[in-house]
């Protein structure tokens, strides 16, 4: 089928014309900026390293924290243990999202019959946001198995993960709530005016907009969750930090902790960069819309 030009697909626009001399100058500037940035970074890192290495305590610190041999030997077992951290946060994230959303919706409900839900959601948020995550891990991880409830697994990893879900669910619930509140009331009014019910208005008009807006803060919470999986180690499961601790005791050296730190950083960086990218994209979009 031959589609005439000027249909729904736009006619290819001519490339914007930029003076070749200016274009070359701009490219030179980009290269120069990159060189300056690299050199500046090298000088800065070198200066800090030089300063640290001249401190009187440096040789001792280097021996106990940066032992190359131990770093190499502890890396692989710690990496293997990190698989457990990854499993925990993947499962936790999948549970936290619906929990947070439900909590946010309950807290925003206005119908009198739903008051119990609202009250429960509010108390839940207050309690779990106010309690240190480590304490929640302790309470659930040691408390629930001790109850010996028939049919419930006493597995500490499970209860440690549940603790993370409950703790982070409270935060994520607040993130969703803020997102919902940021959608202008006129959107709800327009939807209700078309005959959509309260529920349909939330589902098809308010929530889609709210969720889009909260993706960056949500991912930020998830970056934080990734490293907090290490808290579950206090219950006994050999996750990365616990593994590092064991090697550290064996070797009487802190270097394995550095290995664990490097691994945790490597784990969070992709998500952190992705968050940055999303945020930048969102800012670009809103500034374009704002300029209209």
């Amino acid at each position: 089928m031959s589609v005439p030009q000027g249909g729904t697909t736009a006619v290819a626009a001519p490339l914007p014309y930029v003076d070749p001399v200016r274009r070359a100058a701009a490219r030179r500037r980009t290269v120069r900026d990159a060189l300056i940035a690299t050199a500046s970074l090298a000088v800065f890192v070198g200066a800090v390293a030089l300063w640290a290495s001249r401190l009187p305590g440096w040789p001792a610190v280097q021996a106990s924290f940066f032992d190359g041999e131990i770093l190499r030997s502890s890396f692989l077992p710690t990496l293997q243990a990190l698989v457990l951290n990854i499993k925990m946060f993947l499962v936790a994230e999948l549970l936290i999202l619906p929990l947070g959303l439900v909590v946010a919706l309950c807290r925003r409900s206005r119908a009198p019959v739903l008051f119990p839900l609202r009250a429960v959601a509010t108390v839940y948020t207050d309690v779990f946001r106010g309690t240190p995550t480590l304490l929640v891990v302790f309470l659930l991880g040691f408390g629930v198995p001790a109850l010996d409830i028939p049919g419930l697994t006493p597995e500490p990893v499970v209860w440690g993960t549940v603790a993370l879900v409950l703790s982070y669910g409270a935060y994520v619930g607040e993130v969703f709530r803020a997102g919902i509140a940021s959608v202008h009331p006129s959107q709800g009014m327009a939807a209700r005016s078309l005959g959509l019910s309260q529920w349909q208005t939330s589902r098809f008009v308010v929530l889609p907009q709210a969720v889009r807006r909260v993706v960056p803060p949500l991912l930020n919470d998830f970056v934080s969750l990734q490293k907090d999986t290490a808290l579950v180690g206090v219950l006994g499961p050999i996750e990365a930090l616990r593994q590092a601790q064991i090697i550290s005791y064996d070797e009487a050296n802190f270097t394995p902790y550095v290995a664990a730190a490097v691994l945790f950083i490597a784990l969070t960086i992709p998500l952190a960069r992705f968050t940055d990218w999303l945020q930048a994209r969102q800012e670009r979009r809103t500034s374009i819309a704002g300029a209209r």
């Binding site: 959107q187 009014m189 327009a190 209700r192 005016s193 078309l194 889609p208 907009q209």
Partner: protein
Amino acid sequence: MTGPLLEMTGVHKAFGPNAVLRGIDLQVAEHEVVVLIGASGSGKSTLLRCVNGLEAVDAGEVVLRTPGSTLTVSDARVDLDAVRRRVGIVFQQYNLFPHLSAVQNVALAPRRVLRRSRGQAERAARELLARFGLADRADAYPDQLSGGQQQRVAIVRALAMDPEIVLFDEITSALDPQLVGEVLDVVRELTTAGMTIVMATHEMGFARDVAHRVLFLDAGTVVEEGTPAQIFGAPTHPRTRQFLARVSTGTATRGGIDA
């Protein structure tokens, strides 16, 4: 169907101590085009919002007589969703859903409220958009549309529910002057098609053209009511004369009247 399509009797509405509607009587027959004029704050928007139940009235009655049913909007037990399925409203600020394309904006309510299939709803939406010159913008998102296009999509969105009556609340007041025409043309087309319309506007020339009846509101009461020729040609009430004089001399431009 006996009696007017829309009947408001003795409607009062206050926001706290601020009495905004003070005994409004209004009857709108099928196919009738009624225009509300009046200064900013006179209660035009509130009146319209009482018709589709966005605001609950404090006293008086609002009754909607449609072929299938009679709905008392002012009754606290009324099914407001049922009312709103039959009453379309278009706002000054368009209020399109920014996460949906034009066609999705239009198809949303037919799909979710009238339970049409997606294919059916979107096909109908495209046809309706095409009818109002928006065929090539059907897949655009609101932030890719001009103000005039957005407002036309908002009108189409209201029409997609096949309402018995459409309320227009100063739908051109947020537009750049050169975009006002394309939106008013849509309204004009609806009036010739016999749509029942209640419209609040500051476009006096347009009101004179299309209205069957003009109501001048002042401080929450209908001060004067009549044909466009009567209201614009020979207003009897001093307040009406004063208002029209201010509008025509330009001391009350669109921004000035409804800032």
